[in-house]
């Protein structure tokens, strides 16, 4: 039996040395004569989503996955082909049993891969791989459909934009198709500016043709002859693969002067992002493509009517486009069978934070946050109590543990003050301070706002100052009311969605964690022991075993004590960074309220 060795070469695994692993595997295969009858090929794939356990190597069709593979393991892996698997490289499930297939790995087992269907299975740089898995069959089908029929299919799928706002995709296309003005444009938003998010990057890097296919189908339906993929500045690898995919599709006659011989044409090009978070906002993105400063533009006309160069334009997110081939192939009706009431299909999330298994995951919409955290994520690291899940990127919100049965869909999240955003999801344990979290995001937004309109620029400046005061013990009575009042002006009167959604982290914080805010303001106490100005650490001598971990972790040398005897913290030298608490495996370090000395 011939084998294919899939080596994950997404950005995460490359950073962990997967290119060297691939090279070592190649060498091992050429050196191993025993496999003369078995032809083994190495294939570099996109991100498998489980980057923290990378580099990931899979043997197909045996379906054996190896994790944290080093070049030195190459020979063992090659020798094991057709024999006993290399046990030490297998993933151990929650019971500690090593598992072979991804389908037995709890991280993958609880997912539902639709958009990510090809990623990790194919070489993103190889068009034949995509074609072999049914790629471009939807395009072929679409070429025999009328534009109206294509749009009807997308409408009936109930697909909503995956870039954040959840606008119905079919309706957007319908509007753009309805305008006569030519030329029209189609744009793919691959700016992905949320800190920690890598959903779109993984799709662009791992399965670029699926995005192109969606874009081409959109162009056919609205009558656009030109399109752009606007890809974040830092995404070098993604741009490379997309560029190659465009080139290969053109050479194969799938794209360009005559799409699959239909006589219909589409010219696609890659635009490098402007390097700012705000460039992902639709009007800023278009300004950036037009060669102007990437700042939002105040206008009351929809982009579908007056978008790029004031012409009818459809702008959709990477993941939105990647859903299109599935809808056209399997019908909109079938697409609605997965997902929640008003949120059909699946959603890709970047599950990170204090969770045992983190990575890129795809689930049907409507599953609960708890399912994501527990079933896929395997619960909180070190079994600590789960405090909240931050969802929706910088303008999202923190959902408290008590509400984790909330289904993940556009409307539920919005109703509870968070938002779907593009799919960032950060799990937080009891050592996260909700005020500090809000301050962090408001700071991010204050820096990343374009600064053009008053409520956003000045409102965020003031909110940041107040939140910083609260974290540093200068909070005053009335601060929460003032934060809320400023928030109202941002939500109501900001020019673009950044300002309109920027208060979310603060508003959800005040709504669900009011006591924590009050403790900071009135008692000058940070219950989570995070805000350094309000916190001191002490070591419980009756629990401390003198392992010296904390002593070594302390950046200021404030911890004293001998091996195997209880340690002590010199408060004068302590900066309350909490490094000692973080490393203590015995729970001997406690955060206490700092006696206030201002």
């Amino acid at each position: 039996m011939n084998r294919t060795v899939l080596v994950c070469c997404g950005t995460g695994c490359i950073a962990n040395g997967s290119l060297e692993v691939a090279e070592a595997l190649r060498r091992a295969i050429s050196e191993t004569k025993t496999h003369a009858i078995v032809e083994t090929v190495i294939k570099q794939t996109g991100c498998n989503g489980f980057c923290e356990n990378g580099p990931i190597v899979r043997i197909m069709p045996d379906d054996i996955s190896y994790y944290k593979v080093k070049p030195k393991n190459a020979r063992d892996i090659v020798n094991s082909i057709g024999e006993k698997p290399v046990e030490q490289l297998l993933y151990k499930n929650d019971e500690g049993t090593p598992v072979l297939s991804q389908m037995e790995n709890p991280f993958y087992m609880s997912q539902h891969k639709t958009v990510l269907r090809n990623i990790g299975e194919i070489d993103p740089g190889n068009l034949s791989d995509y074609l072999a898995r049914g790629g471009y069959s939807a395009l072929k089908k679409a070429l025999f459909m009328t534009p109206d029929a294509i749009i009807r299919e997308v409408e009936s799928s109930g697909l909503r934009g995956r870039g954040g706002a959840g606008f119905p995709t079919g309706r957007k296309w319908r509007t753009a198709a309805g305008f006569e003005a030519l030329p029209k444009y189609v744009i793919c938003n691959g700016d992905e500016g949320d800190p920690g998010a890598f959903m779109d990057r993984s799709i662009l890097e791992g399965d670029p043709h699926s995005v192109l296919e969606g874009i081409i189908i959109c162009a056919l339906s609205i009558g656009a002859l030109e399109g752009f993929l606007y890809i974040r500045d830092e995404y070098v690898l993604a741009r490379k693969y997309v560029q190659k995919a465009i080139h290969d599709a053109e050479s194969a006659g799938i794209l360009g002067g005559s799409i699959m011989g239909s006589g219909k044409r589409l010219n696609l090009s890659v635009v490098r992002g402007g390097g700012a978070f705000i460039c992902g906002e639709s009007t800023a993105l278009m300004a950036s493509i037009e060669g102007r400063v990437g700042e939002p533009r105040a206008k009351y006309a929809r982009s579908a009517q007056r978008g790029l160069w004031n012409q009818p334009t459809v702008l959709n997110n990477v993941e939105t486009f990647a859903n299109i081939p599935i809808i056209i192939n399997n019908s909109g009706e079938n697409f609605t069978k997965i997902g929640a009431e008003n949120s059909k299909g699946t959603k890709v999330f970047a599950l990170v934070g204090k969770v045992r298994r983190s990575g890129l995951v795809e689930v049907p919409m409507g599953v609960s946050l708890r399912y994501l955290v527990n079933n896929i994520g395997g619960g909180v690291i070190d079994g600590r109590p789960l405090k909240a899940v931050q969802i929706g990127g910088p303008s999202g919100g923190c959902i408290p543990e008590a509400m984790l049965d909330l289904p993940v869909d556009f409307d539920s999240l919005t109703n509870y003050g968070a938002m779907m955003g593009s799919g960032g999801m950060i799990v937080m344990d009891d050592r996260s301070c909700m005020v500090e979290v809000a301050r962090y995001y408001v700071n991010f937004l204050a820096e990343e706002s374009c600064g053009k309109c008053t409520p956003c620029r000045e409102g965020l400046r003031q909110m940041l100052a107040i939140l910083t005061d609260i974290c540093e013990g200068r909070g005053k009575e009335g601060d929460l009311e003032l934060l809320e009042e400023i928030s109202r002006a941002l939500i109501g009167a900001s020019l673009c969605a950044l300002g309109k959604s920027a208060p979310n982290p603060v508003m959800t914080g005040i709504r669900y964690f009011r006591d924590e805010y009050i403790a900071h303001i009135m008692e000058k106490h940070c219950p989570a022991g995070v805000c350094a100005a309000l916190t001191a650490f002490e070591i419980d001598a009756s629990v401390c075993v003198g392992c010296t971990n904390c002593k070594r972790a302390c950046p200021t040398g404030a911890v004293t004590g001998e091996v195997k005897s209880a340690h002590n913290i010199n408060q004068a030298a302590c900066v309350a960074c909490g490094a000692c608490r973080e490393v203590c495996r015995f729970g001997a370090v406690r955060a206490i309220k700092r006696r206030f000395a201002v």
């Binding site: 705000i278 009351y300 374009c450 008053t454 002006a489 009167a493």
Partner: protein, 246 residues
């Protein structure tokens, strides 16, 4: 087409900006970043009003809101008052030196929040009009730099503005008088540069800076007069009179 503003029926043509319609009908809506001769920016947000259209009520900025359908507009609803009050309060904290902002705060009852952090010695509210004016007239000597809370208006690299022609149009459109222009009998200082003034050959009053006149000559291809506005008008009038007398 007829829309209703604060209960009064107002005629307008489709696509007309709400601010125009309102001013024509005697409503006063505060504005800061709007200037009749420059493209709409919609960034100061003090001109917000509430528009009720079908079953929705939205806050919009009157200066750039094109009226396309029949609607009712409220220039002083509770929502408008509250949000505009906060915007003005925020502006006051960001530009405590500006008399215009204080005046608007008083006029529109902006609450005084002592808790807000005040910027020291600041008049600029970053409305963008100066940059827009400079760009529109073609010099593009100043621009807004940085983003977010760090945004400011400046010359390239904070150096004396190389492309500045000293016309002071920026200062003329500035709603808060934030741009310093110092002028004496023979020169004008602006954006860290000093410009020599062309004096009227007739009355001796300044006509403009030498750079400004040269710039205009380059752009129009016509040599610029060295008469001031008043003397030029007089000269033309004199010429006409003599023409008729002849």
């Amino acid at each position: 087409m007829i829309i209703e503003i604060d209960g009064k029926a107002c005629t307008c043509s489709p696509g007309e900006y709400l601010l125009n319609i309102a001013s024509r009908n005697g409503f006063s809506i505060p504005t800061l970043c709007h200037h009749d001769g420059l493209p709409g920016q919609g960034c100061c947000r003090v001109c917000i009003v509430e528009v009720s259209l079908r079953d929705r009520k939205d806050i919009v900025t009157a200066c750039i809101y094109p009226v396309e359908q029949e609607c009712s507009v409220f220039t002083d609803s509770d929502r408008v008052k509250r949000q505009r009050g906060m915007i003005l309060a925020l502006l006051r904290a960001s530009a405590p030196e500006s008399e215009e902002i204080s005046r608007l705060c008083k006029m529109y009852d902006a609450p005084l929040y002592e808790r807000l952090t005040q910027k020291a010695n600041e008049k600029c509210i970053l409305c963008g009009l100066c940059v827009s004016a400079c760009e529109t007239l073609g010099a593009s000597a100043i621009s807004s730099v940085n983003r977010g809370v760090e945004k400011t208006v400046s010359t390239p690299y904070d150096e004396p503005a190389a492309d500045c022609i000293g016309c002071a149009s920026c200062a003329a459109v500035c709603p808060t008088g934030a741009i310093s222009v110092e002028e004496n009998n023979s020169s004008r200082a602006i954006w860290n540069r000093k410009f020599t003034l062309q004096l009227c050959r007739h009355c001796g009053k300044p006509v403009g800076t030498l750079d400004e006149l040269a710039f205009a000559a380059r752009k129009t291809g016509v040599a610029q007069t060295t008469l001031c506005e008043e003397c030029r008008r007089k000269a033309i009038a004199d010429e006409m009179i003599t023409a008729y007398e002849r």
